[in-house]
């Protein structure tokens, strides 16, 4: 609870910064919406309707008041309240990001552990390649490359057109995650379609997240394997399975969890590009479209959502750390 309160100043700062940013950014919202042929009067009319002619502090105050009511403003492009748009699109982004993170963890953690346990082995070399490649490949490039290879060249995956192919319809809303909802509804056809669509963008994100997770797992595992309590465990004749999984890995996971938090927040950022490449209807592509249209409210709403997600994320990491580490529970 205290930690939640501690992040309030950061949220306030984010609100101020986003407000200022959308006002000073180049591109005039009123001009954009009036269209290229509009007269000066009609532009002024639109500006007055949007409240853009009032002084900045006044605009800010009404913005904050609206925020307090949960009103993020209207999107001029979709004609919907921003809050509704974001709520509709958030599950798509969340599903994609989490799936990408799961893929990365599922590969990077075992790889890092193997690389540390058997130094100089094939796994160790593979780990090094992954870490180097992951650092040097930009995420939109891997995205385009995957589309090119698996859709265009091989034809293994469907066209990158969003969460489902044209013939499938969304499963009934339960969590908003299509893979989960379709499975709960036992609608395996939709489930397969959703899986086929998500696999490439999720792999793109996964490849991006692979390197930092593998690197920290390997380093952390190496450090723990050299610790004195591992020597005790070996001197007690515990099986290597117990030593590696129960004694070493659980201790090594502490820094890994912290890194996962960081990686997750990077992924939220990388999402913006990946959603654009795969036409994924998430909040990232929503923000990009709004930005291009100089539509301020969605951009503000997006940044605010990210800030809240970030705070919640840190809270989760904290809770997981407490569950894993008795020393953290104490302090």
């Amino acid at each position: 609870m205290w930690r939640l309160a501690g992040s309030l100043p950061a949220l306030v700062a984010v609100i101020i910064v986003t407000f200022v940013l959308t006002r000073v950014l180049p591109g005039d919202t009123a001009t954009y919406f009036a269209g290229p042929t509009a007269s000066a009067e009609s532009i002024a009319q639109i500006r007055a309707a949007l409240g853009l002619d009032r002084p900045l502090p006044e605009q800010f105050w009404s913005y904050v008041q609206a925020l307090a009511r949960g009103d993020l403003g209207m999107s001029l492009t979709t004609g919907q309240p921003v809050l509704v748009d974001i709520m509709n699109r958030l599950p798509a982004s969340a599903e994609l990001t989490l799936f990408g993170l799961l893929i990365a963890m599922g590969i990077a953690i075992p790889l890092g552990v193997l690389a540390a346990v058997k130094q100089g082995s094939l796994a160790d070399h593979l780990c090094r390649v992954v870490v180097t490649a992951g650092v040097s490949l930009p995420v939109f490039f891997t995205g385009l490359l995957l589309v090119y290879v698996f859709y265009y060249l091989l034809g293994w995956s469907p066209a990158p057109v969003g969460r489902l192919d044209a013939f499938a319809s969304a499963p009934p809303f339960i969590t908003g995650f299509y893979l989960v909802d379709a499975a709960l509804a036992r609608d395996w056809e939709t489930w397969h379609s959703a899986l086929a669509q998500i696999i490439l963008p999720a792999c793109t994100l996964g490849l991006f997240a692979l390197a930092p997770i593998a690197r920290i797992t390997r380093a952390s595992m190496l450090a723990v394997l050299g610790a004195e309590f591992i020597r005790t465990a070996r001197a007690s004749g515990l099986s290597s399975r117990t030593i590696i999984l129960t004694y070493a890995l659980r201790n090594a996971l502490l820094p890994v969890v912290t890194t996962l938090g960081m990686v997750f927040s990077f992924l939220l950022g990388a999402n913006v590009l990946v959603e654009k490449v795969f036409a994924w209807p998430g909040i990232g592509s929503y923000a990009v479209e709004a930005l291009i249209a100089s539509d301020g409210a969605p951009v503000q709403g997006f940044v605010l959502t990210m800030a809240i997600l970030y705070v919640l994320l840190n809270l989760t990491i904290d809770l997981v750390n407490r569950a894993l580490d008795p020393r953290a529970r104490h302090s």
């Binding site: 465990a233 001197a235 004749g237 117990t242 104490h330």
Partner: protein, 320 residues
């Protein structure tokens, strides 16, 4: 007294980038049932390497190059890694310096004892935990059932060392190696910890190797002392004999450097010279020769171990 552990001609080398470290050279000693033998020597003389090599805990750079180490009839140097893992913790156990770091920081202490019992005694989860609580009681931890769920950071150093002892002796091993078990503990706690080890040893007939650089502690707690210098055991004798009549020049210096209860701290004289660099290719046969004031020309011809008196073995041509 039948020997629990019989070490002979035991040598260990480390292959490092800067050369081969000849850490142990033809080490030999035996420890009998219920006997406590002390292994003393300056820091860096090879005491810990002896312990790790016996239990197969050397890191990849370290190799046993020759010799035998027979524990209850099994040659540890010829045992497979799997056999060693079954012997370690079951028939031969070890406790360490800095007990808090030697315990898993995020696992309850009772669980850590239970892990050993499950592995070696094949107990069920519940029986292993009951056994762990019983061990905590035996090492004198108050309210053991509640303390079993404590973590190392919640206990004092002395309590952690008791837990360490409980882990080591849980399976009633034939041999306990205690590597500087009281270094870093305060004096009262040192005595308590050593009392616990002595009590368990006499109850179960466990042989104990007490590794220490503290000759006074060795004198107080062991029946026999083996003195180590630069990877050689230079003198091995009954404690009384060694204290009253040390024959190796190094033992004599070591005794002179140890403040006794009667002598003031000013009596502490450090030993001149350093341990030789064990990576040298031209190590002299006697690794103490460069620091020795009784050196003879014959000292460079070779080193032999001989019984100079009943139960007193030295590696010196010109004993005092």
């Amino acid at each position: 007294m039948s020997a629990v552990l019989d070490v002979s001609d035991f040598s260990v080398e480390f292959r490092t980038r800067s050369g081969i470290v000849r850490a142990l050279d033809r080490v030999a000693f035996t420890v009998g049932r219920g006997e406590t033998m002390a292994l003393v020597g300056e820091s860096g003389s090879g005491k810990s390497v002896t312990a790790y090599a016996l239990l197969g805990l050397l890191d990849a750079a370290g190799k046993i190059t020759q010799g035998r180490a027979v524990l209850e009839g099994v040659d540890l140097t010829a045992a497979s890694p799997g056999e060693l893992a079954r012997i370690r913790g079951k028939r031969a156990a070890m406790i360490f310096q800095n007990p808090r770091a030697a315990l898993n920081p995020i696992r309850p202490i009772g669980q850590q004892i239970a892990d050993v019992l499950r592995r070696h005694a094949g107990l069920s989860k519940r029986d292993a935990m009951a056994g762990a609580i019983d061990m905590l009681r035996q090492v004198g931890i108050p309210d053991p059932a509640r303390r079993a769920s404590a973590y190392p950071f919640e206990l004092s150093g002395g309590m952690c060392q008791r837990v360490m002892i409980a882990i080591a002796v849980a399976t009633r091993p034939a041999l306990l190696i205690a590597d500087e078990p009281t270094t870093g503990l305060d004096v009262t706690t040192q005595a308590v910890v050593m009392d616990i080890v002595a009590k368990l040893a006499s109850e179960t007939g466990m042989a104990t190797i007490l590794i220490t650089h503290d000759l006074a502690l060795a004198a107080e707690r062991s029946a026999r002392i083996a003195v180590m210098h630069a990877g050689h055991i230079v003198e091995d004798a009954a404690t009384k004999t060694l204290l009253a009549n040390p024959r190796h020049p190094y033992t004599r210096r070591l005794l002179a450097a140890t403040p006794t209860a009667a002598g003031a701290l000013s009596a502490l004289r450090s030993i001149p010279g350093n341990l030789p660099d064990l990576r040298r290719d031209d190590l002299p046969p006697c690794r103490f020769a460069a620091r020795c004031d009784r050196r003879l020309p014959g000292c460079d011809a070779g080193l032999v171990w001989r019984d100079i008196a009943p139960a007193q073995r030295i590696a010196c041509w010109n004993p005092t």
